[in-house]
Structure formats: C-alpha cells, structure tokens
C-alpha cells in the first residue's frame, strides 16, 4: 500500500524544483515507505528492498536516488546479492555454569572506600590450554586492591573443560597463582610452540604465563620484559609487523594507586569513585615480540599514542583492507584512536579523519568495550562501542575509503542503550542465520550513584535484520531478564556443538556460562593454524562464498572488554546450501582456497608453506 501511495509522490518529487520541496517529498516518502505509524527511523534497507521489488517502476531516475538511502554506500545490486534466503531461528541461551561445575565470582573488593579500581575489572579468556579440543576458561581475580599481591588475596583461576560436560578448577595443577588485583586477560601462542599462552592485565604488574605444554604455566613476565606496575585494562595479541609472531597491545587506564588512593568526592561531599577526568591518563603500550621470548616496548617509536589516552578496549584487525593489522582503541571520555599501520614501520591515528573517533554529534564518549565484525557484509570490519549511561552505544559502519559512518540511530540502536552502562560486547551470529547479533554486558560502576537503570542492569542482545537491529533479549532466555553488574564477555563453543556460547563476568554475582540453545541454520567453524604466519593465525581473514553471497570474518586480536574469545571463526550460512567455498587470507600474505567445503563442521586448517601447496585441513567435529 505504501508503495502504491508513494508513486504519485515520486512523480511529484521529479517535478519539484526547489530543494525545500524535495525535502518535503523525501520526508513524506520516507513516512510512507517505512510506515508513519511505527516508531524509529527511516529504514534504509527496507527502502532498498522495496526498490528491488519495484522492477517495473518507470521512474528510473528516482529509483537510483533511493537505491542507497542511508545505506553503507551499497548499490541495490550489491544488497540484493547479500540478501540471503535464510530462515531466522530463535535465539536462546541458558546459564549452565552451576550445572557444570563452573563457579567463579569476580571480587572487586568494594568495602565502601570507593576505590576507582573497583569499577573496572573482570574479564575472562577462553583457552584450550591442554589441547584436548575443549575450551577451558581463565579468570583474572580482584580482591582487596589495597593489599594487591599479598599471598592471602584471592588468585586468578583456570578451569579445565572436561569433554564439554563439566569444568574443574585446575589452577593449582596449572600453577596459576597470581594474587595481583586482576583486570583482564588475552590468550595467544606468542612463542609459536602450539600451546596458547596467557597475558593477564592487572592493577600492578601484568603477568605473562607461558604454557609449558604439560598442563602447567610459568610466569615469565620479568624475563619477557614486562616490568611496569600500572593499571592496565584490556590487551590484545596481533602480529603488527607481520614477522610471524604475536605482538601485544596493552591498554592502560590512569595513574591511580589503590594503596595510596586519591580521594574524590561527589557534589554532596560524599566519598565517591573518581571521575576519569580527575585522574591523569597513562598511555597505552605496545610490545614488539622479538622472537626470543623477549618483548620490547615500542608504542612511542611506532606512533601509537595520542591525547587523553585512557584505554579500556582494543581491537587489532585490518580496518582498511590493506592486509596490515590496524589498532582501534576505545578511550574513556576522550576521542577513540584508530592507528593505521604503515607496513609495520609506523602507525598514524586517523580516527578523527575517518570518522570513528567521536559519535555523530561530534562528541567523545566514555568508551569501554568494542565489538567488531562485518555486520553489513560489505567486506569491511565495522565497530560497535559500549558507553556510559545517557551516551548510548555507537555503531560505526566501515565504508572503506569513505571512512566510518555512525549508523547507531538509523539502525534503531540509540534508545535501547541510553539508560545502560555497558562494558563487554561482541558481535557474532548466534543463531547462524547469516546476520550478526550483538551481545552487551551492562552494569553501573557505583551502587551509590548509579543512574540510568541502576547498579545491576539487564544484559542486551540485538539481532540484525538486514536494515536495523532488533532487541531480542527478552525472548533469549532467563539470563536476559536478570539484573547483573556485567563486565567482560567472550564467545567460545565449550561443548563443541557448533554453536557459540558465552561466558559473562559479573561484579556482584557468579559468572554466567550461557549455553547457546538457539535454533540454528547451517554453520561452519574454522580453526586456523599458521605456519608462515603466527601459529595462532591472528589477523587471518576468511571469505565464505555460497553462490553469489559472501561472508567475511577476521580473527581479530582483542575485542570485547578485558576478555579473550576462542580462537576460531564461526559462520552462519543459508539453510538451502550444502557446500561452500572458503578463501583464507593469511597474515603472511599467502592465501588458501578450499572448494566444496561441506557445511556443519568444524575444521582445522593449516597454512600451507606456499600458495602452490594445498592446505592441510582436518575435520574436528561434524554435525549439528
């Protein structure tokens, strides 16, 4: 009906000459096409689809005008190609942590002192440390920040996943005993020995735990060159110089000593958690892996610094598709950074220039976590940033050479996040319908002065419908109706059933292990093993093609908040398909193409020594 009504308007539009008339027609047409009685904003892709349907529409000129309304610069042909006939399955998660013996509660040590560090910590890292094919979990622990490092303080914990059926605390056996006030964790095989290692960020000295391959770890921080005692938050592994081993980027927050804390008071004169602007920021650091077990600080040398750097989140990924990993940093209260990599020799912050430093109102936000993925399937990695209450989370669509575009409002994401204070976030296709979901862990920083939805908040789950994001949390299980103080979150398929599960860390309660019980479509999971590239293959890009549709994902370093994802790439694919084509771009520059790959399996693919050689692939798991 709206389409019929819009035709006279379109004709009138063509006849109109002044731009104000045209504006009126645009508005009216928008109203008609997207339904005036519905809330929200013009729905660009719906318009686009409407246009696709109107093949007989005679007003070709106008069609072209409307073909990319508000879209990410995509032509309607592109979008048609990207639109897959996928059945959208229900999304459902169930917290099974207590059922399978996983018990961990992050202790932020809050005892009324209002220490600033109480607000931030709490991450988790998926790691298959014993290489049994089932993802284990590492949790940094807090404690009493004023007594950080003392032997009676709680230590980090490592839980071993026994065949996807239950978890067992393996901290003691594995030699995990860091009593420093913990914040976050990142997992990667920095010495390319085939066993993933762990880097833990602390308030105090950070810890590098080297996996011995026998089920245990040893702390090698000092010998590796990590001496500083700072307040670090998120960290990410990535091969920034593409020399075949993983380098490390560590976000530092600000200069604050919980043993001699700065006293801050609120407007009523009551002791309160300090505002970030009251405290001097401390620059992030980047450590170059020299390949001999030693890391060398190189942030300044490489140009990895900027004003007001209070880093809380980081992603290492190729945002400009030049095959060199770039670094995006989420800063609290100041503009975010996008450090573009110039062939590993230097970096330049271009965030302001390309439009991902501040939101569409030109305002720097209090950024915490980062989700990263190609949600609009234009072959470029997009970003989703979590923020403080009243700041809404921001979606930056990557338009390639045309920079980033804040599409938060246009995709219905402003209102749902206004009253939330968000930390961990990630983008993944949980119901494997080919469209991304975004998970957001919410929770205020201060029970005394919590605004918005209060101190504990409900987590959120948004599902992309091709043009906007639907809030689907309400129907996704009991967990989404609980109020918790959420922090770090990471994906991992703990029971190897082909569906990505979630581990979420809270401040006020036990962690949640959300078993994915969604109705799923076809899927493909890939574990990549680098040879010329780093063994963890961080930075690898995979393109999965079925007929004329393509999905792209990159094994990014970092993402989320203080947390580390399972090192696999997971794709949701059309139900009608049986096989696909897989093209892997390895960080080393080589590429691998696999034809007729059967769906619904988890494969391990080893990087060939040269392009001429076939890739070795192993099927690790088959079936739904």
């Amino acid at each position: 009906m709206a389409e019929l009504l819009s035709r006279p308007l379109i004709k009138a539009f063509v006849r109109s000459r002044s731009f104000s008339d045209r504006l009126l027609f645009f508005v009216a047409l928008l109203c008609l096409l997207s339904g005036c009685n519905q809330g929200g904003d013009p729905n660009p892709v719906e318009l686009q689809r409407t246009e696709v349907k109107q093949e007989t529409e005679p007003v070709v000129e106008v069609s072209s005008i409307f073909s990319d309304l508000g879209s990410s610069e995509s032509s309607s042909e592109d979008m048609k190609n990207r639109t897959s006939p996928i059945v959208r399955g229900d999304i459902s998660f169930k917290d099974v942590a207590s059922q399978i013996g996983l018990s961990f509660r992050y202790d932020n040590g809050a005892d009324g002192q209002q220490l600033m560090v109480e607000a931030t910590g709490g991450g988790c890292g998926w790691i298959d440390f014993d290489r049994d094919g089932f993802e284990d979990l590492y949790f940094p622990q807090g404690g009493n920040a004023a007594r950080s490092g003392e032997a009676d303080q709680p230590s980090d914990q490592l839980f071993r996943n026994i065949a996807g059926a239950f978890f067992k605390d393996a901290s003691l056996q594995a030699g995990v005993s860091d009593h420093t006030y913990g914040q976050g964790v990142t997992v990667g095989d920095y010495n390319n020995d085939g066993f993933d290692d762990i880097f833990v960020t602390n308030v105090g000295r950070n810890q590098l735990l080297q996996n011995q391959g026998d089920g245990s770890f040893i702390a090698v921080s000092e010998s590796a060159g990590f001496f500083e005692e700072l307040w670090s938050s998120s960290a990410a592994w990535g091969d920034i110089d593409l020399d075949g081993d993983l380098d490390l980027y560590v976000c530092n927050y600000c200069d604050y000593d919980p043993k001699n804390p700065m006293i801050c008071r609120n407007s009523r004169g009551i002791d309160s958690i300090c505002h970030p602007k009251d405290v001097v920021p401390v620059a992030d650091e980047c450590y170059r892996n020299l390949g001999d077990g030693i890391f060398q600080a190189c942030a300044k040398e490489l140009g990895l610094f900027g004003d007001g750097n209070r880093g809380l989140g980081v992603v290492i990924a190729d945002f400009d598709n030049d095959h060199w990993p770039d670094i995006y940093v989420a800063n609290d209260t100041t503009a975010n950074f996008l450090f573009v990599n110039t062939h590993g020799q230097s970096f330049q912050d271009v965030a302001s220039i390309v439009g991902c430093a501040v939101n569409s109102n030109g305002m720097a936000q209090a950024s915490m976590g980062i989700a990263c993925g190609d949600y609009d399937r234009n072959g470029m990695l997009d970003l989703y940033l979590t923020h403080f209450t009243n700041e809404w989370n921001t979606l930056y669509a990557n338009l390639g050479e045309k920079g980033f575009y804040d599409r938060t409002a246009m995709t219905n994401l402003v209102v749902p996040t206004m009253s939330r204070l968000a930390f961990g976030t990630l983008m993944a296709d949980f119901n494997q319908d080919g469209f991304m979901e975004i998970f957001v862990a919410n929770g205020h920083i201060n029970p005394q002065e919590a605004d918005g939805d209060g101190y504990p908040m409900r987590p959120q789950l948004f599902s992309y419908n091709g043009s906007g994001w639907d809030d689907v949390g309400d129907g996704a299980g009991d967990y989404f109706r609980r109020r918790v103080v959420g922090r770090g979150v990471a994906t991992g398929d703990f029971d190897a059933d082909g569906r990505l599960d979630l581990c979420v860390v809270h401040h006020d309660t036990e962690i949640a292990l959300l078993h994915n019980e969604s109705t799923i479509g076809n899927w493909l999971q890939l574990r990549l093993i680098g040879t010329g590239s780093s063994r963890s293959a961080v930075g690898s890009r995979v393109h999965v093609t079925i007929e004329n549709q393509e999905w792209m994902a990159e094994l990014a370093g970092g993402t989320s908040y203080c947390s580390s994802m399972q090192g696999i790439l997971s794709f949701g694919l059309p139900v009608a398909a049986e096989k696909c084509r897989v093209r892997i771009e390895w960080p080393s520059g080589s590429s691998t193409v696999l034809e007729n790959v059967v769906l619904n399996q988890m494969m391990s693919i080893v990087e060939p020594a040269s392009d001429a050689e076939p890739a070795r692939s192993y099927v690790l798991q088959v079936g739904r």
């Binding site: 645009f26 928008l30 439009g355 409002a409 005394q448 209060g454």
Partner: protein, 400 residues
Amino acid sequence: MRKSVRNSIVLIMTIAALWLASYGWHMMRVRSLTAECLRFEKTGSWARLVRSAREWMKMEPENREARQAGVMGGRALNDVRAVTEFLEGFPRELPDDVPWLSMLADVKFGPANFPLQGVQVCQDILQITPNHKESHRRLIYYFAMTQQLVLMQKQIEAAIENRCELPEAYVYGFLGPGLRLQNGSEVTRRWLTNDSDSELLEVARALHVAQSLAGAIPSVDEATAAMLRSQQKEREVAMGQLLEKYPRNLDLRAYLLNEAMETGQARRAGELLKESPSAADEDFRFWHVRGWIFSNLNEFEEAGRCFEKAIHLAPLDWRTRFHYAEMLRRSGKVEESTRLNSVSILGRAIEKELLQQPDTGSVPKEIYGRLAEYCQQCGSDRMAQRVTDYLRQSDMAKSP
C-alpha cells in the same frame, strides 16, 4: 458688530492676562521647585526631594533636571519605584541622556524585573550611541538567556562592528547552540513573574528546564529517580504542548530539531522542518538539520548546499562543519572532508574547554588564542582580529 469686536478683544485680553498670570505662576513655581530640589539635595532631605521633583516633573515632563533630581532622591531612598517613575519618561534623544537611560535599563533588568522593557531601553540607547558597550552586553546576555540565538549572533556582530564588545561576546558567539547558562532556569522564571503571558519568556524557561533535565538520572534512591523520570516525561509532553501553542516560535522548534538530530530521529526532524515558518530560512540551525537529513538520504549535493548555507549564516558553528565533513567523506571528497574536519575538531576542543570554565570571566587567554585561530580558519576574519586585539591589549595592560 462693534460690540462683538470689542467683546472679542476683551476675551483675548483676558485669556492673555490669565495665561500670563498662569505662566508667571508656573515659572515662579518651577524656580521655587528648582531651588527646593537643590536645597533638599544639599541637606539630604531625600523624601522631600522626591516629592518636589515629582511635582516639578509633572509641571515639566520634558525637563531632564527634574527627573534627574527625582532619580537622585529615589536612589538615595533605595526606592526603585520612584527611580523607575522618573527614568521612565526620560527623553531618549541626546548622548547626554544615555547614562540615565542606562540606569533605567539597569532597573528594568534588575530590581524592577521588566526585562522586555529593558531591551527596548537598550535598543533606544544604541540608536543614540551605537557603541554603548553596556547596552550591547545587556542585549547579548538577554538574547542568550532567552535562547534567541540568531538575535544573539546579530547583536554580537553589531557590537564587534562598533568595536565595543566585551570578551565574553566572543565566548557567547562561538558557543552558540552549545551555550548553557546555569542560572537560565532561575532567571527566566523570575522574568516571567512580571510578563507571565510572554511567549518569549515562556519558551526560554521551558528550554532551560529541558536542558537542565537532559542529563543522567541518579538513582541514589528509587523515589528520586522515579521523580526525575517523571519530570523528564512531563517535560517532553510540555514541550510538545508548547510547540502546539507557539508553532511559529523558531527557537523552540530549533531546540526540538536539534534534539531530534542528536538522537538520530530523522523522521521527527523532517516533520519539524516541514512545519517551520518561513523565518527559518534565515536560521542556521534549520539549514544544519536540513543538511543532516539530506546527508542521511545520501543526497550529497543538496546536503552540501544546506550545510554551506548554515555555515554562511553561522560561520563559527563547528557542529555543521562536523556533519558536512562526514558527508563529504562519504561522498568521496576525502581531502575536502579532512580539511573541514580538522577545523571542526579544533572548534570542538575549544568548546569542551570553554564549558569546563566556571564562568566567562575565567576563560584563560590561551583559549582565546585558540579561538582567534579557529575564527581565522572559519573565515571569520573580523572576529579573529578582534579576539587577537583583545589578547594584545590585555598583554599590554599586564606589561609594566
């Protein structure tokens, strides 16, 4: 015939005699009142001075001295009503009248609490003395307080043209829509008490209240949070009703437009634009939002035209430049976008620093220096020059 002529002459003579007698008495009385006023002034008999001056003023309403004497007495008695009474009809013609008119403006904006009348006085002063610094200052403040941003900008330009602006004018002129007056709600509430049916003041107060409620809702206790939430809701309803009541009010509509733009409600913004009065064509805020809508529609050419118009009308608005740069980037004009973006980044940084100052008097010189640079980059050469002159003068004043 002769009789009637004679009668007429007698009548004329009588009238003349009466007039002469009356004039003589009047002159005598005036002389007497003048003397009395002088005497009362000398002896400090202020109440009697006021009485005599009042009588004198009635006899000679155009006499400046009578009014001046009354003002003197009234001021000594701290009698605002008396001061207002004498200043109210003060002639508004000569440069010598200006100090008295300025005093009247003081009273109108201050204790008498009739700001709308105060505005008229200031405008009359500027007709006589176009470079009257205090009147410009008052009007800029008034337009800022009543959220009439376009008039505020024009007043700032007029002050600069007459080289009589105060440094705070640069801050107000730069901040424009970003200007937040902490006491705005309180001042406009007070002003409304004497002009309760003023659309201008009613809207201004609503806008100040809306701005003050726009922040976060602390939930220290649920009752407070619920109350604030309910206030926000009420505010939204009230703003809608106010727009229905005053559909032609540009500042109200511009505020709602900006709110729609900031929260990405393109459709709402479109509706507000559609119903905007023709005067909006001279308001940069409307062009900015038009540009933003076209930009979202990927109608880059139209968007560019709108942004250009907005920048032409308000050269210092960094927000328009920011959106313009974003649009240029998406349209593939990366170099142009980068140039424009760098200007907007500077503007944003200056705004951020200005908003952190407790008041305009506390703005450090360093920020004024950057403001001059920003004005230069925006092509606002005159403003840049004036800010630079101000810095130079203040440096000279400091040096021994």
